[in-house]
């Protein structure tokens, strides 16, 4: 794949720290003909809204869009599980020609009859955007008919990339909140934005917050439901983990309901401690701060030796990171530092300019930074940089393995939490189990030389 970078248009999306003043191009459309790792608007909207557990998520479009998103998120629920079904209007040729509105309202009727949901999210897909079904009108009529809340999500795939989908999801969530009068604020309460409760992560953070005396009012959207989301305006502060998906909602809530927001990260020991302090600081309650310090001290004491033990195995190892959002990438650099691994390649699908600036400040000279990378580039730079480990999503896993490189999933195919102190341990453990697996000893170069 030497010729991978023959394509000059890609050059502005790739930088090497130290070599030049970095102003990486990002947030731009991919180039036609690329093997892009990016997804679409619908995908972005679906991942944010999917954890709403008691909603019927109805995909208005042909079957594929709905099949591929059927229960792939791994977000856990403490109660309802209607969200884990896959509902589709399954548009047919006839509907494409004559319009899909009648079918949509029939499908809603039928799901109401079978499951009595309180809430519907109706997603538009590419095709719906093109044939021009009036989603808004159908949802409104059906909502009146059944006396329930039905929210159209304008997520036609081609109107942008995943970030536009995040925004569409936030708009849908705002519609859920807005009809209510702002509720009286509960003291010391937060809304937790941008945690989708993968492997129960939102529960871990809630326990921490409860322990220091902060109550979690609503979670957007991990393990959430119709009622809990509608109470969002009772929260006195928004804390935000996944900035990529939730910044828009946070700013809107600040403007419309005067709820301020803080950016937090619970990935890694350092970020977790910082975030807990930041929250306690915000409430300005010395007793709360003291409890936070106690929690941090206790957990650090318990966690550090375990991390240190793993760290011993990682001398001189190098990591490559390719994830969706910029903020996650930033946390990962710090988290790798905690376990003694240097990040030598870092890229994102949807990172923003300010995030790339932060990344550039954090990494060492010589680190390759790239936006919207394709597999050929990943391969080239991982090899060139001598990475021993890749962090990525589903599609990157087999690529790494084929290269004989260890891999960890930081997306939705993981089965254990990576948040908080337990997450820090899990992270180190996962890095250990893949990086130090005996399996790498069995890779032979063509010629019979053992590389292990």
């Amino acid at each position: 794949m030497e010729a991978a970078l023959d394509i000059k248009e890609r050059n502005p999306f790739i930088a090497t720290k130290g070599k030049q003043k970095v102003s990486l191009r990002c947030d731009a459309d991919s180039i036609s003909g690329c093997v892009s790792q990016r997804a679409c608007v619908y995908c972005g909207a679906r991942v944010v809204l999917n954890p709403v557990t008691d909603a019927a998520h109805l995909v208005h479009g042909p079957i594929g869009c709905s099949s591929y998103t059927w229960d792939i998120r791994g977000s856990l629920s403490s109660g309802d599980d209607l969200y884990r079904n896959s509902f589709s209007t399954e548009l047919q040729e006839h509907d494409v020609i004559f319009g899909g509105e009648p079918k949509l309202s029939r499908a809603i009727d039928e799901i109401v009859a079978k499951y009595q949901p309180k809430l519907f999210f109706v997603y538009s897909t590419c095709i719906v955007g093109v044939i021009g079904d009036d989603l808004e009108a159908v949802c409104k009529r059906s909502a009146q008919k059944h006396g329930i809340t039905i929210i159209p999500v304008q997520s036609s795939g081609f109107i942008g990339n995943k970030s536009a989908g995040y925004r569409a999801a936030c708009d849908a969530l705002l519609r859920l909140i807005t009809p209510e009068q702002p509720l009286p604020r509960k003291a010391n309460s937060v809304n937790y934005l941008g945690d989708f409760n993968l492997a129960g992560e939102a529960w871990i953070i809630r326990n921490y917050l409860t322990e220091i005396g902060v109550s979690v009012n609503s979670v957007f959207t991990g393990d959430s439901n119709f009622d809990s989301l509608r109470e969002a305006t009772a929260g006195s502060l928004n804390i935000m983990q996944c900035a990529g998906s939730m910044t828009y909602l946070a700013t809107k809530m600040q403007d419309e309901f005067q709820i301020p927001y803080l950016r937090v990260s619970f990935l890694g020991m350092e970020d977790t401690a910082d975030s807990l302090r930041k929250i306690a600081d915000y409430f300005g309650d010395p007793a709360m701060l003291a409890r936070a310090e106690m929690l941090i001290a206790r957990e650090t004491e318990a966690t550090s030796p375990i991390i240190a033990a793993y760290r011993g195995h990682f001398n001189g190892k190098k990591a490559a990171v390719y994830v969706g959002g910029g903020f996650k990438a930033i946390s990962l650099i710090k988290q790798f530092r905690e376990i003694g691994i240097e990040v030598v390649l870092i890229g994102t699908q949807t990172g923003r300019p300010d995030e790339y600036d932060t990344i550039n400040d954090l990494v060492n000279d010589g680190t390759v930074i790239l936006d919207d990378a394709n597999p050929a580039e990943l391969e080239r730079f991982m090899t060139q940089q001598g990475a021993d480990l890749l962090v990525g999503g589903v599609k990157e896993r087999p690529l790494a393995y084929k290269l004989g490189i260890a891999f960890i999933d930081h997306n939705h195919d993981r089965k254990h939490p990576l948040s908080g102190y337990i997450g820090a341990v899990n992270f180190a453990k996962e890095v250990y189990s893949t990086l130090c697996s005996p399996v790498w000893n069995y890779i032979y170069d063509w010629g019979g030389e053992n590389r292990g």
Binding site: S32, G61, S88, E110, A376
Partner: protein, 462 residues
């Protein structure tokens, strides 16, 4: 999660789907295109579709799946995707250097009406490079239709009849099966000493060996020369009517290669039919090796028949696979009472007949009363199972929800299987494949028996 599926069956006529038993055309087209040597599949549409299709195939095969996309934006969907596609063709050959680029459309590009063949005609394609395409609107058919359409494109773009006398060789169209199945079919044909062209052939593409290197174009796949030469073969064998008949018929129309359509060779009867057809067409003897395998299979079936006899089973998945599985479980003495595919199933009036007719014809002599449905969804299957419970469920990964809700032993067969590994390497076709199926089915049933056994009934030997 499916606890809320109601038991009462009421008419459903919205046309909506609850828990699909199929997916869309482009993923099938992408998979078929991977079966051409040095081919890069290309998705003409927005990035999302392509990303989902690659993700799903990656999960099933656990191997890298490469495909490029036209990366539509709002502009392209208003003004048409011609410019995107031309830029894609240029970029793909420039950056990724495949021999063949196999374009399929998506819902979006179908709906806005991009005329892909004329775009290709006016595009600048380098000497010696090829571009083929298939129309794969997802609002028609299923992933099986997409697979069939891309295989048809191989025929319409590439096959040619260059000599008046046909060669002593056979075309085999294996249908939407795993690379392990394709290998097994090749092994059988090779052992009969017959020249063959298998297309598409994903073995060696999505089950590549670990070498410490990533190859954009692995060694496997049907070569362009072979695809061209399919027009010179003496006969085409379409395995599985739904995935394979259309391309075989097209080849007959184009190059006068007669067609034999058989079931996907799952189970003893369908494998027998495959071998008999090969023997008749080429007057080659069936080698000892295969006879021994058949004998072993019958031996195994004899050893275990009492485990299966009278057990009720529900089967769902892709039509060709479900048809083969149904025939096989019948030969084991099991009773398939629910048989469902998500793919629309042809009609009774067409020459080919329908899925439902096929299954009913198999069941008729046995007197079994079964629910049989094409274009169904898993909600329907689950309702059937609530009303008439079964001893075993066979289908793809998505069956796990129903299996759990109804506490039924479950055997994973078909596409996709997202939560288990190794399956795509091991065949379910041929006598060997049938042995493996017997093992999987009996293990599932016996594991259940062990699990449920009272202490006094728990035994060492079963």
């Amino acid at each position: 999660m499916l606890d809320c599926t109601p038991k009462e069956i009421t008419e459903r006529n919205s046309g909506g789907i609850i828990n699909p038993a199929k997916t869309c055309q482009p993923i099938g087209a992408m998979y078929a295109a991977l079966g051409i040597h040095k081919c890069l599949p290309h998705s003409h549409g927005s990035q999302g579709c392509c990303s989902y299709h690659r993700m799903h195939l990656t999960r099933h095969f656990r191997d890298p799946v490469m495909a490029s996309t036209s990366c539509f934006t709002e502009g392209s969907s208003v003004f048409g995707g011609g410019a995107n596609l031309k830029a894609s063709i240029q970029n793909v050959f420039h950056i990724y250097k495949p021999d063949v680029m196999a374009i399929h459309t998506t819902c979006l590009t179908e709906t806005i009406g991009d005329d892909v063949s004329s775009i290709i005609k006016t595009a600048d394609v380098a000497e010696g490079k090829l571009v083929i395409h298939a129309n794969t609107p997802s609002y028609v058919g299923s992933h099986i239709t997409g697979f069939s359409n891309m295989t048809k494109a191989m025929v319409s773009y590439l096959a040619e009849s260059t000599s008046p006398i046909k060669k002593e060789q056979i075309n085999i169209i294996p249908g939407f099966v795993n690379p392990g199945d394709m290998r097994e079919i090749k092994r059988i044909v090779k052992s009969m000493d017959i020249e063959y062209i298998l297309f598409p052939d994903t073995s060696g593409v999505v089950d590549t060996p670990m070498t410490g290197e990533f190859q954009m174009y692995p060694e496997g796949g049907t070569t362009v020369e072979q695809l061209k030469d399919t027009g010179n073969s003496k006969v085409s064998l379409a395995l599985g009517r739904f995935a394979s008949s259309d391309p075989a018929d097209l080849l007959n129309k184009k190059c006068k290669v007669p067609v034999v359509t058989l079931k996907t060779p799952i189970g003893i009867k369908a494998t027998d039919a495959l071998l008999m057809t090969l023997r008749t067409a080429f007057a080659h003897e069936i080698p000892k090796e295969l006879e021994v395998e058949r004998g072993q299979l019958v031996d195994i079936m004899t050893d275990t028949h009492f485990h299966f006899h009278g057990k009720t089973v529900a089967i769902f998945g892709d039509p060709d696979i479900v048809t083969g599985l149904t025939e096989f479980v019948l030969s084991l003495g099991m009773i398939p009472i629910h048989v469902l595919t998500g793919t629309p199933g042809g009609s009774s009036n067409s020459v080919a007949g329908s899925f439902e007719d096929d299954i009913n014809a198999m069941l008729k002599p046995t007197g079994i009363q079964a629910n049989v449905k094409s274009a169904g969804d898993l909600f329907t299957l689950h309702q059937w199972m609530k009303n008439q419970p079964v001893d075993l469920l066979i289908g793809n990964t998505y069956g796990k929800y129903i299996a759990r809700a109804e506490d039924v032993p479950f055997v994973r067969v078909g596409f996709p299987i997202l939560d288990r590994s190794v399956h795509s390497y091991l065949p379910i076709v041929g006598y060997h494949g049938a042995m493996r199926l017997v093992e999987m089915i009996s293990n599932a049933l016996l594991d259940r028996q062990d699990r449920d056994a009272a202490d006094e009934d728990f035994e060492l030997v079963m």
